[in-house]
């Protein structure tokens, strides 16, 4: 029965029940597709003549269809359309993301009932809805084929009733014998969950709830307790700080609520406002914050104390007894920081990244002295994340290993077997307990050691509530019905207490409980709502409650400084190791997510691995391989910390402090081949997993083994021994070149002073040709007939602010998710074939440059290429198709597969492409990506590419074609979103305005570095941005007229040499132009005679 039949004639209009029943009957006729598609076993009747004809007909049809290019294999239409789902139209739901480390307010895009994309809830969300790559990528983890589909009892899939019965029995018997149960969770920020856990503890008596974070900030809490009597993590506000000093804290990546800080930080980095915050970073690793710093000092972790002491002394907060300011006092960078802090007293912020109480107390002392507690730090609006009770967990771990004092453990969102330094022994000892349960969604390291695994929903499948900071309550709503037979952990706890019954996937147990809690506590505390229903609906719609204003008040600093020296971190004088988290993998929660594994690290540009970062010169001198590419891997080294050794490749990293090395956490997940996700393991060159002893091999090494416990807190730095090994290790990097080669029209940089006071020609030299008519802009000259886009209809354009781009990489994942960009795996990335439509170019400053892109008077190309500054500045440059109005790719395509739209887009017609790759060769930006293989079906990509997996395929955006082998692809400027925006405006009968149309990267950007809009609309933000003093087009002189403008990077530092040079350049140019203009005028004059 075709859908067209239903539209026939009047009977449809007056359709009654009878009519539809007849229809249904007709469709039930036995001549159905099932009959000839059925399996051999299920087909009962023998083949008769009519069947034979049907087979014949079908085979011919099938053969014909198979001969066509892309047969549609499955298309399941809605028989009855759900009310709120319109085919082809996306529904957006506000929700919230929390994985134990990151909290973000999100908007989830669903299509035909499946979530396919996540962006920040910028309108209502907490922290301006800033997200991170992990948040954006979590939508893919939802569809991970290795997620548990049902509860496990002793490793075997079973029914919920069986698991429940056994667990209840065990819990009761422990209770009866007076035993103890520990509930080990990550930091619980859900008020309802806390209540449920409280009830659970009450019901079973001796239940200890231990909160544990893989990366712990326990020392920060205890330092605050000692300093101000409040064991809390305060809310920091980087947007209010005029001077920011960070000692080893990568607050733009990984440190506390870094995704939120990114947004805050960027608001105060806009030179157009006339001032910018001044950011000082003192650190060992080249971190994201360090890469963005105005002034960066290189120090070892063992020197952090003296840096802080020097600052304390310098600003006048007094000296710290027993802590010498030492050499740090003489450091130029520290002195500058001191001066800046003094100047910005009361509007500054000092943060320290070490999980060490003594260092945090000194930091508190400085902030307190500077008066920051009433401006940039709010101790009253406490952060509820990071409640880690390191000491309690250590006791538990030791007890379990010893086999005393605890009889049962329940794990909820925590994976200590992987992330705790004693994880291995702990995991082995778990078997001795009476009861071990995990709520993990994957049968992860800890879950695999547990008797029972009761898989929790994925966050996108479940209701939840959150209280990330004291001032705001948030709600997470499900965006899809649970895919598997999972149940929310809270429901499980309630069931075990006997307070609820299981009711399958449709269960509303936890939902009802959340509503009850919100009605009981949230509603009475809120104002302006007619009823609870009203309050609830608004909260669900916005994703959270309106933030309460929590007044800051300067606390009294009461810590005793005397004993601090003894509590400082200890180092043995050798190489110092600093563990960090990457912006992609974080602490490894989503290690099985191929998008995150393939996301190139903003600093190292390396994918699919963790490694040792070592000072570039030091590595070179020690004989480590510094030139790496497809065929030349990184030298391996053995790194030993506290007797634990790992073999890792060494990546020479400019800006790494001499005598220190860095290793990223979050790798080496699934060391014993645990089923933690398809993307978490190494694959072979021609597909299939690499195997060792029959187990899949984990990607990278687990650096959590290096975490030590000092003064009861987990410490993420320590002393290490490095031993060079003879072997090399293949590295999959997306960029091998370190510098911009002094090329002036790619990246432009200037100082704030220059920007505010000097001629913009100096730092943003326009490309002009000196003609007989006088100097003319390059854009005036055309070899080709212009596309009529400049003043007709729309002309889509982008403005990218290099000052705002901090290089977090959220845009990369957003682009991948929106545009179905394939994942190609380590081997292909190594071969330089990553498919990213949008990439983040990273350039270090060379010693032969004054700033990136400005050559010194005396330079050589060889030196430019190799002599990286000891402590280089870094620029990140998002690079994507520039949608040139005179695109070099368009002219060379023999079959016109890439053409220009009348809205200024350079569009790619996949169906027409024959794959000559000429366009890619002729692209000056090298942003075109070729489908070297059939990623959606070739065996090499089975394990990693989501489009090869029936479940993971659900994440694909149905508006964007999955490209086949042999065709070229590239950024389309999210043409599907443009179309959507245009249609929206059309339906509403109004012109398209800013905000109707956006691109995924701009939506995802936490710092709003990317602005998209219609350049022909003179009022649009992008049009205005393109006329700014800082606006320029990369490689403008090639004459290709891009539709993307970049904004010159402005750094708030004193670089007088650069400023003088730029002044001179401006002067010379003005002079030249004047001269040529005069000359040109004379010429014209003569011509006139």
């Amino acid at each position: 029965m075709s859908m067209f039949e239903n539209n026939k004639g009047v009977e449809n209009m007056s359709a009654n029940q009878d009519y539809f029943e007849t229809r249904v009957d007709m469709s039930a006729e036995p001549i159905s597709v099932d009959e000839f598609l059925a399996d051999e076993e299920t087909r009962e009747s023998s083949t008769n003549r009519r069947d034979f004809l049907k087979f014949l007909g079908f085979s011919v049809a099938a053969a014909t269809i198979a001969a066509c290019e892309a047969p549609v294999t499955k298309a399941i239409p809605y028989l009855v359309k759900p009310e709120d789902i319109t085919l082809g139209k996306a529904n957006w739901y506000a929700s919230n993301y929390y994985d134990g480390n990151t909290f973000a307010s999100i908007m989830v895009k669903t299509r035909e009932g499946r979530p396919i994309h996540i962006k920040g809830n910028k309108e209502f969300g907490f922290g301006a809805g800033a997200i991170s790559p992990e948040v954006a990528a979590s939508v893919l983890s939802l569809y991970d084929g290795e997620r548990l589909t049902a509860p496990l009892v002793k490793g075997a899939e079973s029914k919920w009733s069986d698991a429940d019965t056994a667990i209840i029995k065990a819990l009761n018997s422990i209770k009866d014998k007076g035993g103890k149960v520990a509930l080990v969770s990550n930091s619980i920020i859900s008020p309802t969950t806390q209540i449920i856990i409280g009830e659970f503890a009450e019901k079973f008596g001796n239940v200890e709830h231990i909160q544990y974070d893989a990366v712990s900030y326990s020392a920060l809490r205890s330092a605050n307790e000692k300093s101000f009597g409040k064991a809390a993590i305060p809310s920091y506000d980087f947007s209010k700080a005029e001077a920011i000093v960070s000692v080893g804290a990568d607050f733009l990546n990984g440190w506390l609520l870094s995704n939120i800080y990114r947004a805050q930080y960027a608001t105060n980095r806009k030179p157009e406002n006339g001032n910018m915050s001044k950011h000082f970073q003192f650190e060992a690793n080249m971190s994201i914050a360090g890469a963005n710093a105005d002034v960066r000092g290189m120090f070892k972790p063992s020197q952090y104390a003296s840096v802080l002491a020097a600052i304390a002394e310098g600003v006048g907060a007094g000296s710290i007894p027993g802590v010498s300011a030492g050499d740090a006092k003489n450091s130029k960078e520290v002195q500058q920081a001191v001066a800046a802090l003094k100047a910005a007293k009361g509007k500054s912020l000092v943060v320290c990244g070490e999980n060490n109480e003594a260092l945090q107390i000194i930091t508190n002392k400085i902030n307190h002295y500077l008066g920051n507690y009433s401006t940039t730090i709010n101790l009253n609006d406490a952060v509820n994340l990071f409640q880690s009770q390191d000491a309690a967990l250590n006791t538990l771990v030791n007890n379990v290993i010893k086999g005393t004092g605890v009889d049962g453990v329940i794990f909820f969102g925590a994976n200590p077997v992987y992330s705790h330094p004693k994880g291995k022994a702990f995991g082995e000892a778990l078997g001795k307990l009476d009861l071990s349960v995990s709520f993990a969604s994957w049968n992860d390291e800890t879950a695999a050691k547990c008797q029972y695994v009761c898989p929790d929903h994925h966050a996108l499948e479940a209701w939840n509530d959150h209280n990330p900071v004291a001032s705001i309550y948030a709600l997470a709503q499900p965006t899809i019905k649970p895919i598997h037979n999972t149940a929310s952990a809270q429901e499980s706890l309630l069931v075990w207490m006997g307070n609820a019954n299981r009711s399958g996937r449709e269960s509303t147990v936890y939902y009802n409980r959340i509503r009850q809690v919100w009605e009981q506590y949230g509603y009475p505390a809120s104002t302006g709502f007619a009823s609870f229903e009203d309050f609830w609906n608004v909260s669900v719609h916005n994703g959270n409650t309106t933030p309460e204003v929590i007044v800051q008040e300067a606390p009294v600093f009461a810590a005793d400084l005397a004993g601090l020296a003894a509590a400082l971190p200890k180092f043995d004088g050798g190489v110092e190791l600093v563990m960090y988290t990457k912006t992609s993998i974080g602490v490894g929660t989503q290690a099985g997510n191929p998008w995150l594994q393939e996301m190139s690290d903003p600093i190292s540009k390396i994918t699919w691995d963790n490694y040792i970062t070592m000072n570039y010169k030091e590595a070179q001198d020690a004989g480590y391989n510094v030139v790496m590419d497809q065929e030349h891997g990184a030298t391996l080294a053995k790194i030993t910390v506290n007797g634990v050794s790992l073999e890792l490749p060494v990546i020479p990293t400019p800006g790494q402090t001499k005598g220190t090395v860095g290793v990223a956490l979050g790798y080496g997940r699934g060391e014993n081949g645990e089923r933690i996700g398809k993307g978490a393991f190494k694959t072979k060159e021609y597909g299939g997993y690499e195997e060792q002893d029959g187990k899949r091999v984990a990607i990278g090494q687990n650096a959590f083994k290096f975490v030590s416990i000092a003064n009861g807190a987990l410490s993420f730095s320590g002393s290490a021994k490095i031993e060079k090994l003879s072997g090399t290790y293949p590295i999959a990097s997306t960029q091998f070149q370190l510098t911009a080669m002094g090329r002036a029209s790619i990246v432009k940089e200037t100082t704030l002073e220059s920007f505010l006071n000097d001629d913009e020609v100096g730092y943003n030299l326009p490309h002009k040709l000196m003609t007989h008519h006088g100097p003319e802009a390059v854009s005036k000259f055309d070899l080709w007939k212009s596309h009529p886009v400049e003043h007709i209809g729309h002309r889509w354009a982008l403005s990218i602010d290099l000052s705002s781009c901090i290089g977090c990489g959220t845009c990369l994942i957003a682009c991948q998710s929106e545009n179905n960009v394939p994942v190609v795996g380590k081997d292909e990335v190594r071969r330089g074939r990553e498919m990213a439509w949008l990439r983040l170019d990273r350039y270090y400053k060379s010693e032969d440059e004054l700033a990136i892109g400005t050559k010194k008077e005396d330079f050589s190309f060889t030196r430019l290429e190799k002599n990286i500054d000891e402590n280089p500045t870094v620029v990140f440059m998002p690079m994507l198709c520039q949608h040139c109005n005179h695109a070099p790719c368009e002219t060379v395509c023999p079959v016109a597969a890439t053409t220009h739209s009348n809205e200024g887009l350079n569009q790619m017609t996949y169906n027409r492409c024959i794959g000559t790759r000429y366009c890619a060769n002729n692209c000056p930006y090298k942003v075109r990506r070729f489908n070297w293989f059939n990623y959606p079906s070739y065996k090499k990509f089975t394990e990693i590419n989501p489009s090869q997996d029936d479940l993971a395929r659900m994440v694909l955006n149905p508006d964007v074609t999955v490209r086949t082998r042999g065709v070229m692809e590239k950024c389309s400027l999210c043409v599907q979103k443009i179309q959507e925006g245009k249609l929206k405006a059309k339906v509403e009968s109004r012109p398209v305005v800013d905000g109707d149309v956006s691109v995924a990267c701009a939506d995802a950007c936490p710092t709003n570095a990317i602005t998209m809009g219609d350049w022909n609309d003179t009022g649009s933000a992008v049009r205005k941005a393109s006329a700014e003093k800082r606006a320029y087009q990369a490689l403008e002189e090639v004459g290709i007229k891009p539709n993307i403008w970049y904004q010159v990077k402005v750094r708030n530092h004193d670089n007088n040499e650069l400023r003088e040079r730029q002044k001179a350049v401006a002067e010379k140019r003005r002079h030249d132009e004047a001269r040529f203009a005069d000359h040109g005028h004379e010429d014209n004059h003569e011509g006139g005679h």
Binding site: Q630, A740, A920, F930
Partner: protein, 460 residues
């Protein structure tokens, strides 16, 4: 009758009669093939089949089996294409341009040079086909009326010009070659005993009877075709060079390319002719027809074109500096000092320095030396294309995308395979087709033959 100065070196050595000429050319075809032929054929066929295997793997799996990457979208594929097209240049130049210039010495070599041209163009044509991501859609490059609405080819694209240039060149060369073969096929038809061979040659000779009118038309057609083919010699490689010259890539975007590519093509084509000719004259005992003088003439062409190419290289370097364009300068600095400097200097040594040795008369008349140089030149010319293509795109505008190119086994397999296939074709040609133009040879026998020259000389 045409007279030739006595001091001119004869073109046919010894005392050859018309009958001798016919015999010398036809006998190798009529007799049994020597063992060497079978050995060579087997080797060539194996290599060729290996190449075909690699091509099938490529077509079945994807372009990814080559070593290309996001930055270097063309490497060995287009290098091989340009190299083979270049080799394919000598034949038509020899038969058409030299015909127009009435260079009689061309007669000894034109037949096999033309055959070589055609086979080389076959090999060349293969690469643009297989380098396509979707070969099965390859016919879209032809401006065929189609059902896709107004969608047609893009006449702005040099790749499209290539399609026209190569196909025109191939068809004209093929016709030219075939027309020349007709009288000789007729000779073979009249000589062979085997009925099957007779039938074949009879078909191939189009009923040639050797009447004066036919000869007259034959001459006319040859001249007309030579007229058509001559501009093609210059156009084909000029157009191939447009693939690069019209781009925006530093190192590609060079106006000097058309003449430079044509000179390079003649250079490599002549070198290949030398290589093949030196082997063939030995194998087929044609020393009387192809001798030192011919080799010397060709060496002079090699020397001159080699020098043109050398000047072009130096001009490129000068202009890159003189232009003051940052990217352009770096592209050339990178060429001679970057990671592919070894390829650049191999090219320089093979193409610029080695042909200069031809200034020495002794060396340019030495067959062994010529043989070595002819191979060296073709190695050099392969590197020239590699240098132009790969070292330009591997480091272009944005340093973030710079990369290297490493060939895979399939890259190598297909390249070697085309050499095998080329020799398969060439050996079949040598076995079944008259390798010298019998009829044409006879026209110069009485004027440029050694014994006749001496006779005329003594009469005076």
């Amino acid at each position: 009758m045409h007279k030739e100065a006595a001091i001119r070196e004869p073109l046919v050595l010894g005392h050859k009669t018309f009958h001798d000429v016919t015999n010398d050319v036809c006998q190798p075809i009529e007799g049994k093939a020597p063992r060497m032929w079978y050995i060579l054929f087997t080797i060539a066929a194996i290599i060729g089949l290996y190449g075909v295997g690699c091509i099938l793997y490529l077509l079945g799996t994807g372009i990814g089996v080559w070593g290309l990457n996001k930055t270097v979208g063309w490497a060995w594929d287009i290098t091989n294409f340009v190299w083979w097209v270049g080799i394919g240049h000598a034949g038509t130049l020899i038969s058409a341009v030299l015909l127009l210039f009435r260079q009689k010495w061309r007669m000894a070599i034109n037949r096999s040079a033309e055959a070589m041209t055609i086979f080389a163009v076959f090999m060349a044509g293969l690469f643009p086909l297989i380098h396509m991501g979707r070969l099965w859609m390859g016919y879209w490059v032809l401006p065929l009326p189609n059902q896709f609405g107004p969608l047609w080819v893009n006449f702005n694209s040099p790749l499209l010009w290539d399609v026209f240039a190569i196909s025109t060149y191939l068809s004209v060369s093929l016709v030219f070659w075939y027309i020349g073969l007709i009288p000789d096929f007729a000779t073979l038809r009249d000589r062979v005993k085997n009925p099957l061979s007779k039938r074949m040659y009879s078909l191939l000779s189009f009923g040639w009877s050797g009447r004066a009118k036919q000869w007259n038309r034959f001459e006319l057609v040859s001249l007309v075709l030579a007229g058509i083919a001559t501009p093609l010699v210059f156009s084909v490689h000029s157009i191939v060079s447009f693939d690069f010259a019209t781009s925006v890539i530093p190192g590609w975007h060079t106006t000097i390319f058309p003449p430079y590519f044509v000179a390079g093509a003649v250079f490599s084509g002549f070198a290949m002719v030398q290589t093949l000719m030196l082997i063939m004259r030995k194998a087929f005992k044609l020393e009387a027809y192809i001798h030192t003088k011919h080799v010397e003439y060709m060496n002079i062409v090699i020397m001159v074109t080699g020098s043109i190419v050398g000047v072009a290289y130096i001009t490129e370097l000068f202009i890159s500096w003189y232009s003051g364009v940052e990217y352009e300068s770096y592209a050339f600095i990178n060429r001679f000092s970057g990671p592919y400097a070894w390829a650049y200097w191999s090219m320089m040594t093979c193409n610029v320095f080695s042909p200069q040795l031809m200034w020495f008369k002794k060396l340019r008349r030495s067959l062994l030396f010529t043989f070595i140089i002819s191979i060296v030149v073709n190695i050099g010319m392969w590197f020239e294309r590699f240098v132009i293509i790969v070292t330009s795109i591997h480091r272009d505008y944005l340093p973030s995308s710079w990369s290297m190119f490493y060939p895979t086994a399939i890259d190598i397999g297909i390249y070697i395979g085309t050499i095998g296939l080329f020799f398969v074709f060439f050996l079949l040609f040598a076995r079944f087709f008259p390798v010298l133009p019998i009829a044409e040879m006879k026209t110069i026998l009485k004027t440029s033959g050694e014994s006749y020259k001496n006779e005329t000389e003594s009469k005076h």
